[in-house]
C-alpha cells in the first residue's frame, strides 16, 4: 500500500469539507451569533490540515484496490471527525460521542439526532448540520471525483465503493469524472428547485435550504423539534413527499430521460416500477389501517400515510405525525419499508429496491428449478442478463445486512433497552433513516443512549451508507497483509 497516495486523497477530502464550512460561517456572521468563531476555527483547521497533506504528498502511479477501500472508508471517518469540530468548539454537546454521532448521522444521511431542543441551536450550526447531509447524500467521494478528474482509473473504483448500488450504477459518460459531474448537477438542480418551491410556499429561506438538504439527500435533519409537522402546511408536506420520492429514484434515469426527451426510460425500468409499486401498496395498507375508526378526514389520512411511507422507504426519516401511536399493523408496514430503501444510484440507503428485485426474481428461478432440474435459467433485469457473480454478491449483501441487524439488536438489548427500541434503532441507523419506534420514535431522540452505543450506531451508519462491503473489507486480516 502506498501511504502517500492515500494521504493525498484524504487531504483533498478534508479540503472539501473545510471549504464547505464557509457556508455555515456565512449564515453565522449574517445572524451575528456566538458560533462564528467556532466555525471559523474549524474551517481553518480542517482546510489547513488538508492543504498541508496535499502539498507534502505526491500521487504517483495507479491506486491499488486496497487503497480505494481505505481512502473511501477513512475519508468518511475523517470527514465526520473534522466535521464534528464546530460542535466541539461551541460545547453544544456534553460528550464527544454526541458530537461524533450527530456528524456521522449527518454525513451518512441518517438524520438521527441527539439534540433534545434543536431550536436553541445557533443558525450557523443548524446550517452545518443540514449541509453535512447534503454533502453525504450524493457522496463526498463522488464530489471529489467530479472536482479532481485527474484521479484517473482509481476514480471508477472509488465511485463504486461509495455510490449506493455500487457496480450496478452504469456510467453515463466514458469518463467517470464526467458521470460524477452529471450526477452532482442533477442533484444541484433538484436542490435549487425544491428550495425555491419551499421558499415560495412560505418557509423562511434559511429553513427552506436546510429542509431541502434534508430532503434531496433523503437524510431527515430538521431545524424544528417537531420536524416538518411544525409548518402545518399540506402543500409543504406534499412538495417534500414528492421530492423525497424523486430523490429515491436512480439519478442516472433523469439524465437518460433528458437525453431521450421522453419518460419512456421510467416505463421500461423495472426497479422504478417496483419502487412505485411498493409506495402504492404501503400507502394503501397504512391508509386502510389508519382510516378505520379515525376521526381524521380521508385527505389528511392519505397525506399523512404517504408522507411517512415515502419518508421511511426512501430512508429520509422526516415525520409529520407521531406514528408511534399508529396501529401495530401500520407500524410493521413501516418497519418492512425500512429494509427496502431507495433505488440504486439514488441518495436513498438500505438494501435498495434493485437488490430486492434481484432477490425476488432469483427466488422465482429457484422455485422453477425445483421441478425443471435441467433448466438453464438466467436472471434478467430490464431484459439484460445479470451475471451469477452479481446475483451472489446481492444475496450475500442481503445476508450481511440481516446478520448485522440481528447482532446490532442483540448489542443494543445488552444495554438494557427493550426489543422494539433496540431493533428499530439498529435497523434505522444501518438503513440511514433516523427515527425508529418506541424510545427512538419520530418525536424522540437518541440523546439518552450510553456513549458506547452511540459510537456503535455511528459505525452502523457508516456500514449502511458505504453498503457494508467497503467498510467490512478493512476488517479482514488478510487485507492488511503484505504481498
Amino acid at each position: 500500500m502506498n501511504y502517500q497516495r492515500i494521504i493525498y486523497s484524504l487531504s483533498i477530502i478534508l479540503m472539501i469539507v473545510g471549504l464547505a464550512m464557509l457556508l455555515p460561517l456565512f449564515w453565522s456572521l449574517y445572524y451575528d451569533e456566538y458560533d462564528s468563531y467556532a466555525l471559523a476555527l474549524s474551517c481553518g483547521i480542517t482546510y489547513l490540515i488538508g492543504v498541508i497533506g496535499y502539498k507534502k504528498t505526491k500521487r504517483e502511479g495507479n491506486f491499488l484496490s486496497k487503497e480505494i477501500f481505505v481512502i473511501v472508508t477513512l475519508g468518511w471517518l475523517l470527514a465526520s471527525l473534522f466535521g464534528s469540530l464546530p460542535y466541539v468548539f461551541t460545547r453544544i454537546f456534553p460528550t464527544y460521542a454526541d458530537a461524533f454521532f450527530e456528524t456521522m448521522s449527518g454525513f451518512t444521511t441518517t438524520g438521527a439526532s441527539v439534540l433534545t431542543d434543536i431550536e436553541t441551536l445557533p443558525h450557523g450550526l443548524l446550517f452545518w448540520r443540514s449541509l453535512t447531509q447534503w454533502l453525504g447524500g450524493m457522496g463526498i467521494i463522488v464530489l471529489f471525483i467530479a472536482l479532481f478528474p485527474s484521479i484517473g482509473t482509481g476514480g471508477m473504483q472509488m465511485f463504486h465503493a461509495e455510490t449506493p448500488g455500487g457496480n450496478f450504477v452504469k456510467k453515463l459518460k466514458p469518463r467517470i469524472s464526467e458521470t460524477a459531474k452529471i450526477l452532482w448537477s442533477i442533484y444541484l438542480l433538484m436542490t435549487v428547485t425544491l428550495a425555491v418551491l419551499l421558499w415560495l410556499l412560505g418557509m423562511p429561506l434559511f429553513d427552506a435550504l436546510c429542509h431541502t438538504f434534508g430532503t434531496v439527500a433523503t437524510a431527515g435533519f430538521s431545524t424544528k423539534n417537531i420536524s416538518i409537522g411544525y409548518y402545518n402546511s399540506a402543500a409543504i408536506q406534499w412538495v417534500i413527499t414528492i421530492f423525497m420520492f424523486l430523490a429515491g429514484i436512480n439519478f442516472t434515469l433523469y439524465y437518460k430521460a433528458f437525453r431521450t426527451k421522453s419518460l419512456g426510460v421510467y416505463a421500461h425500468n423495472e426497479e422504478f416500477k417496483l419502487y412505485s409499486f411498493f409506495v402504492l401498496v404501503a400507502v394503501f395498507l397504512v391508509v386502510c389501517s389508519n382510516y378505520s375508526g379515525s376521526i381524521a378526514t380521508l385527505d389528511d389520512t392519505i397525506r399523512e400515510a404517504t408522507f411517512q411511507v415515502v419518508s421511511l422507504l426512501t430512508t429520509t426519516g422526516y415525520a409529520t405525525v407521531n406514528y408511534n401511536q399508529w396501529s401495530y399493523f401500520a407500524q410493521t408496514v413501516l418497519v418492512v419499508l425500512m429494509f427496502i430503501g431507495g433505488c440504486m444510484g439514488s441518495t436513498g440507503s438500505s438494501i435498495k429496491v434493485g437488490r430486492i428485485l434481484v432477490l425476488l426474481k432469483q427466488a422465482k428461478l429457484e422455485l422453477v428449478r425445483c421441478f425443471h432440474p435441467h433448466a438453464v435459467l438466467r436472471l434478467k433485469i430490464d431484459g439484460k442478463s445479470i451475471g451469477q457473480d452479481n446475483v451472489i454478491n446481492i444475496l450475500q449483501f442481503f445476508f450481511l445486512f440481516l446478520a448485522i441487524a440481528a447482532l446490532g439488536t442483540m448489542f443494543m438489548t445488552f444495554w438494557g433497552f427493550d426489543f422494539v427500541t433496540s431493533f428499530t434503532a439498529t435497523v434505522s441507523c444501518l438503513s440511514n433513516i433516523g427515527p425508529g419506534l418506541a424510545l427512538v420514535g419520530p418525536v424522540e431522540n437518541f440523546a439518552f443512549l450510553p456513549d458506547v452505543t452511540k459510537y456503535f450506531l455511528s459505525f452502523l451508519m457508516l456500514l449502511g451508507r458505504l453498503e457494508i462491503y467497503t467498510v467490512l473489507v478493512l476488517f479482514l486480516p488478510s487485507f492488511w497483509r503484505k504481498g
Partner: protein
Amino acid sequence: MRVIIIGAGKIGFIIAKILVEENYDVVVIEKLEERANTLQEYLDVEVIVGNGVKTSILEEAGIREAGLLVAVTESDETNLIACMLAKNFGVAKTIAKVKNPEYILENKKDREMFPGIDYMINPKLVTAKEIAKLIDIPEALDVAYYAEGKIQFLELKIPAEAPVANQQIKELKFDFPFLIAAIVREEELIIPRGDDFVYPQDIIFVLAKTVDMLRVERFLGTKREKAERVMILGGGYTGFQLAKILENRRYAVKIIEKDYHRCVKIAKELERTMVLNGDATDINFLKNEDTGNADVFVCLTDDDKLNLLVSLIVKNLGVKRTIAQVGRSDYITLMENVGIDVGVSPRTLTANRILRFIYQKNKVLSVTLLGNEEAEMTELLISESSPVVNRKLKDLNFPKGSLIGSIYRRNEVIIPKGNDVLLPGDSVTIFALPEVANIALKYITG
C-alpha cells in the same frame, strides 16, 4: 437477361433450374469440378469452373452484360465480396447468402452503409420464420401470403372425416369465397376443374382472403386447435430465432440444447423461453419435462438422423405434431411417410426466398414453389398494355394447367369468378404448372 449464380450447391441448383425455365440466360460459377459437371448434365446453363471472386472468372461469365448476380457459396465472405465486385461491374441487382447472423444488415440505414448488396439472406433465419408460420397455422403443410398479407394460401391435408371428402368441387358451396387451386394425389399434381372430386388424404392448395380463411378451413373440416406449447430441439441459430419469434407471439416455448455454454448464451438473450440443458434421446429427461403434452415439437439439429429419431420418440410420447429440419430435401417425402408431420428443408426455403426477391421488380411481385417444386404461384401486376385488360375471365383463353387465384384491387381482395374483369393496376396471383408458367405469364403481360 443474363444471370450469374456463384455456387452450385442445392440452393444454386434450384434457382438455376427455375430461372432457366423462365428463359433467363444462366451462368453458374462453381469451384468444384465434380459439382460443375453434375449441373452441366441436368440443366441448360453455362458452367464455369473457378472462384467467383476472381475478376477474370467474372468477366468470362459475362458480368458486364449481367443484370443479376446471386452468390450462394458456402463462404459468407466469398458471397459478400462477389456481390460488391459485381456492383462495381455495373450489375443492377445482387443477392448474397450470408450464414453468419452478425453480417446481416437489419435496417435501411445499415444497408445504405453497405451499398454493394441489395439483398442478404440467412437460410437459418428464413427457416425459423417459415416454421413459425407453420406453427401459427398448425394444420397447414405450407403457408404463403399475397397482396400485402390480405390473401392467404394454404397447403392442407383432407382428413378422412372431413365433410367435403368424396365430394365434387362444384358442389362445395360456401358463403365466403375460396379457391382450391391444386390437388396433390399420389404424388401427382392436378389443377382441378369443377367436376373433379376431393378425396381423403388429398393435399389441397387453398386460396382465400386471410380474414375468411378460418371459416373456410372449418367448412373444409381441416381446422385444428391452435398450438400453445412448443418444444424445440437444438439451440443453434435457427432454434434460437424460432424461440424468439414464438415467445413474442406468446407461445410457451421450451428449447433443448446439449451444450451447456450455448444454453447459457441463449438463456441470456431469450425472455420467456425455458432453456433446458440435456440430451433429447434420453426418454426420462423428455418425460420429466412433460414432452407428451407439447402441441408441437420442432427438431432443428444439423443431424437428419437425430431429427428423425427424436421426432419418432416424441410422437410416441404423445406430441400432436412434429416438424423436422431435413438437410437432404429428397428425404422429405420419406420422412413425412414414417411419421414426421412436416419436413422442412432450409435450402429449398432459401432458394424460394431468393426467387421471390428476383421476381419482385420484374412486374412479378412474388413467387412461391409448391410441393416438390411442381408448381408455382406468381404474383403479378396488370399493366395498361396487357391484352387481358377489361375482359371477362370466362372469355379469356387461359392456358391449361394455370389459373388466376385472386385479384387484389385498391386494397380489396377478390376471389375471382368467371364474370370478373381484370383492370389495370390489379395485382393477381397466378397458379401454374412449371411447363405452362411462362406461357401463362406471357399471355397476361403480352
